[in-house]
């Protein structure tokens, strides 16, 4: 996407603007992405892009083409933070209709409306898959070059993967682009960085392998692959799938304010099903107050249907039917042990080897160890506690050196505690 920028200055300006809180009424339908961006003038700029062109328009006075607003809008879309809509906004509709009408006249092609929409959508999907495949083939060549030339030659420095990341945005593989951008500066991430860098390359290689065989993969695995590549799934499509009725207890809330667009992760656990769920709330302002579920805190229970995004293991979900107002609820039952936690992790990785973390509900005791805190269960098994950004003294206060029920996220780095229970009181760490 950034490769579309007319000059490096535009790239930088667009990257900054993408995270700006000035955006409103953004949306995407088919190949069209639109949004309003507050500028210096009285009225916000109206920005529309048509990816089938690609073509851009913006009401800003910039003579650069595409302007930073159009680029920033596409960056946001690539991050998956532009909601899928069924109908285009008025200002987008009028421009697209006029432009496509002109294009249609020029090509002497028939108008793309009515019953042909379905066919057109299928063709667009096919086009996208082709575009992604072409981009991933280039990435594969790049990966091979990296291991042939040696990881130390690039040093995992800042920006070593920036160009190929930009190429992946153009290739409509934003998930891959995000992974590549995350590799910037891995060389200064401390001891063992070549292990981590090779691991990331190997996982990308595996993802390319899987995408090459997308049609022959089992549907659940294919959905997992598509989600990691960055194909978006429309809300309506998710909500059209079957809902899982349960009383879903909020077991953890984690804000990722450093992300391009700040996101709040709300971890849920079904009281009857024992299943985990994850709600993601995006908000450029980082307040999360606009979303009806943005206020949720650990210990609140939702009596709702959760609709999971396709793929196994399913985690990310949307709230469908709501039966009751959310209510404070007692502590969850059925906290597991560390052997169970590791077995669950191995199990979900078998379905999704690219998974970064998985929710846990575990009983145990924080114990001091060389270089940090560990979490031990009754059997004496220990895992590291990831305490960066966590009030672990609060965990210690709740525990008092005795076992506690703890919810958090497990990743190969260790257990990140998010919530501990003092009796029936959920304590956010």
């Amino acid at each position: 996407m950034l490769a579309l920028a007319p000059d490096p200055a535009s790239q930088q300006a667009a990257a900054r603007l993408a995270g700006s809180p000035g955006w409103s009424q953004t949306g995407a339908a088919g190949d069209v992405v639109w949004g309003l961006c507050a500028g210096s003038g009285q009225h916000p700029y109206q920005t529309v892009t048509d990816l089938s062109g690609p073509a851009y328009t913006c009401s800003c006075p910039s003579r650069k083409f595409p302007c930073k607003h159009a680029l920033a809008l596409l960056l946001r879309w690539a991050e998956g933070t532009v909601p899928e809509e069924t109908a285009r906004a008025d200002f987008a509709e009028s421009w697209v209709t006029a432009r496509r009408a002109r294009a249609a006249v020029a090509a002497q092609a028939p108008d793309r409306t009515g019953p042909k929409d379905q066919k057109a959508a299928a063709r667009r999907a096919e086009q996208r898959e082709t575009r992604v495949a072409a981009g991933l083939a280039e990435l594969e060549t790049w990966l091979r070059d990296q291991v042939r030339a040696g990881l130390s030659s690039t040093g995992g420095g800042y920006g070593h993967a920036e160009r190929v990341a930009a190429r992946m945005v153009d290739a409509q593989a934003p998930g891959v682009a995000a992974v590549l951008r995350g590799l910037g500066g891995i060389g200064s991430s401390g001891e063992g960085w070549p292990e981590r860098l090779l691991g990331a390359y190997a996982q990308l290689h595996l993802l390319i392998r899987a995408h090459d065989q997308l049609d022959s993969l089992p549907p659940d695995l294919a959905a997992v692959v598509r989600s990691h590549v960055g194909y978006t799934v429309a809300r309506q499509e998710v909500l059209a799938g079957p809902g899982v009725a349960d009383r879903w207890l909020v077991i953890g809330v984690r804000d990722m304010l450093d992300a391009t667009v700040p996101v709040r992760r709300i971890l849920l656990r079904g009281r009857d099903t024992g299943r985990f769920g994850l709600l993601l709330i995006f908000d450029p302002r980082g307040s999360f107050a606009q979303d009806p579920d943005g206020w949720l805190v650990p210990g609140i229970e939702l009596d709702v249907d959760l609709h999971f995004y396709p793929g196994q293991p399913g985690l990310r979900a949307l709230v469908g039917e709501r039966r009751h107002e959310p209510v404070p609820a007692p502590a969850p039952d059925g906290a597991g042990d560390i052997a169970g936690l590791l077995a669950d992790w191995a199990g979900v990785l078998a379905g999704d080897p690219w998974l970064g973390s998985w929710p846990v509900l575990v009983a145990g005791t924080p114990v001091p160890a060389e270089g940090g805190w560990r979490f031990a269960d009754r059997s004496g098994l220990l895992v590291p506690l990831v305490t960066a950004g966590i009030d672990y003294m609060l965990l210690l206060a709740v525990s008092g050196g005795a076992p506690v029920t703890l919810a958090g996220e497990w990743s190969p780095e260790g257990l990140r505690p998010l919530t501990a229970w003092h009796g029936h009181q959920a304590v956010r760490l």
Binding site: H205, A346, P353, M393, G400, P412, V427
Partner: protein, 529 residues
């Protein structure tokens, strides 16, 4: 599990990392067999494309590593913590904890101290999730240390040991009731305990046998560190008698200044000590009753210098700020060291008459500073009351520790007298900053008559232009001290006043906030019973 990395060998992930770091062009690594669980999938590796096979192998080995982390440190078992001892008193109820959490986040340390003190008085302790926040607050606000230390419970004292700053809070002298658990027969506490533990042990001994405590302290005195000497010496404040004088006199020659200051302070409160006689001789030489003009006045003889004897008795030659002259500062200190009753006895006038006398040479503020310090240090209620009604001098440039304000003077009055006095002070001086300070110092809950007077001032402030700024200061102590139970619902009364005031006046939100605070206090106190 590490392979050799040789051709045809079994490769482990580290072998691949080593090869990839250098680069396959320089260090080819044909991979055929894989270590560990990844080994059974080695069949997918394509020998015809070594680079692809290498990346495939890396994917397999890396996935296996991610899926099967080895739980660390199982050898010898975890380093379990010694769990917190069981609690002996009940935890604050959840609703009271919620109020406490709200006040803690709001940052009103005075109100927080009130609630904590009430909770401790009701025999309750803080809920564990509140402990880190309370301990942190007590680090920021010294006034919270006592109240927080009193509600820590066993869990809180256990937790404080993990953080040196928290330990200092937990070490704040607990009220004597909490010290009852000290076993005087356990000499090891005195021999090897931490400073706070030794202090509490010595205090317990002082309470049962004052002379034995002094002897014990004197025996090991030379071996104590300076900070320990200062901390332990203060224990002698309880049960102080003439028998302590020789020991305290010797402490006046200590190397450590904080020890000398502590000794001087204790000697000053002994009724008839050599120290006091020296102070009286020094101080009374500076003031005489005379008639330089048409009216009687206090005639000042400014001290010449701070001699060695005065310095030994704790007089400091260094003036506290540029606003005070060096010799004026000696004057203040000389007067402050004299028991205030000496003046009434020697000059034949009451405190109220003395504070109204003019002072020659423009030294009125310096003389009054000395009296104020003496009245507060010796808790002389008659003098405090007199000084409170004296003309409020400009004290610019004087640090608070050299000029006790009306709040500190009011705190010396007996509780009943304080409320009466506050009411009179408000009537005489109006709702200015001095009155606010007095109201903040007197204990709550206020009497109905004081409460009604405060409300009356607020009501008048609303209707008089230019007054709101003047009366809004009253709301801070009012929110903390208006009664929550009884004849009148003061939260409702404040809300009614808010209704009468204009919504965009500065009083409107403050009245509503004060009413909310009263409601919160009421809820909190109800939960304690």
């Amino acid at each position: 599990m590490r392979g050799t990395g040789e051709v045809g060998g079994t490769a482990g992930y580290q072998d691949l990392v080593t090869a990839a770091t250098v680069g396959l062009d320089r260090r080819p690594l044909p991979v055929e067999a894989l270590a560990g669980p990844a080994g059974e999938h080695a069949g997918v590796l394509d020998p015809g494309d070594p680079v692809a096979a290498f990346l495939d192998a890396a994917a397999l080995l890396f996935s296996a590593r991610r899926a099967g982390p080895v739980p660390a440190g199982a050898e010898g078992g975890p380093a379990w913590l010694t769990p917190a001892p069981p609690e002996t008193i009940p935890e604050l109820p959840p609703r009271a904890s919620a109020v406490l959490g709200y006040v803690l986040r709001g940052g009103d340390a005075d109100l927080l101290a009130d609630l904590l003190t009430a909770a401790a008085g009701a025999g309750l302790r803080a809920a564990p999730p509140m402990l880190p926040g309370l301990l942190d607050a007590a680090i920021r606000h010294k006034a919270l240390r006592g109240p927080v230390a009193a509600i820590l419970g066993a869990r809180g004292r256990w937790l404080a040991a993990f953080h040196p700053d928290w330990q200092r809070v937990a070490d704040v002298a607990a009220p004597t009731t909490a010290r009852s658990g000290i076993d005087l027969a356990d000499e090891s506490v005195w021999e090897t305990g931490r400073r706070a533990e030794r202090r509490d042990w010595l205090a317990a001994l002082r309470a049962s046998d004052p002379a034995a405590a002094r002897e014990r302290l004197a025996t090991g005195w030379a071996r104590e560190t300076g900070d320990d000497r200062a901390e332990l010496l203060r224990v002698l404040a309880a049960g102080l008698s003439d028998a302590d004088e020789p020991f305290l006199e010797s402490a006046l020659d200590d190397r450590k200044q904080s020890v000398r200051v502590a000794a001087a302070r204790l000697l000053g409160t002994l009724g008839d000590s050599g120290f006091t006689r020296r102070a009286v001789a020094r101080g009374t030489a500076t003031l005489a009753l005379g008639q330089p003009g048409t009216r009687p006045a206090l005639v000042v003889s400014l001290p010449q210098s701070c001699d060695a004897a005065a310095a030994r008795d704790g007089i400091s030659p260094a003036r506290p700020s540029q606003a005070v002259g060096t010799r004026s500062w000696l004057l203040t200190q000389f007067i402050a060291a004299v028991p205030p009753t000496e003046w009434t006895a020697r000059l034949g006038l009451s405190p109220a008459e003395l504070v109204r006398l003019p002072v020659t040479g423009g030294f009125r503020a310096d003389v009054h500073a000395g009296w104020r310090l003496a009245a507060v240090a010796r808790r002389d209620a008659a003098w405090a009351a007199a000084l409170l009604t004296a003309r409020y001098d400009a004290v610019e440039g004087r640090p608070p520790e050299t000029w006790p304000g009306p709040a500190e003077l009011a705190a010396v009055l007996p509780p009943a007298g304080q409320l009466e006095h506050a009411e009179r002070f408000l009537a005489d001086h109006g709702p200015g900053p001095a009155a606010v300070a007095v109201l903040a110092a007197v204990p709550g809950p206020w009497t109905d008559s004081l409460s009604d007077v405060v409300l009356e001032h607020l009501a008048r402030g609303i209707i008089q232009t230019g007054r709101p700024r003047r009366v809004s200061g009253l709301l801070t102590p009012a929110a903390r001290k208006l009664p929550v139970a009884g004849r009148r619902d003061y939260a409702a009364a404040l809300r009614a006043l808010a209704q009468e005031s204009s919504p965009d006046s500065e009083l409107y939100p403050r009245l509503r906030r004060a009413a909310d605070t009263i409601d919160r206090r009421r809820l909190f106190l109800q939960e304690l019973t």
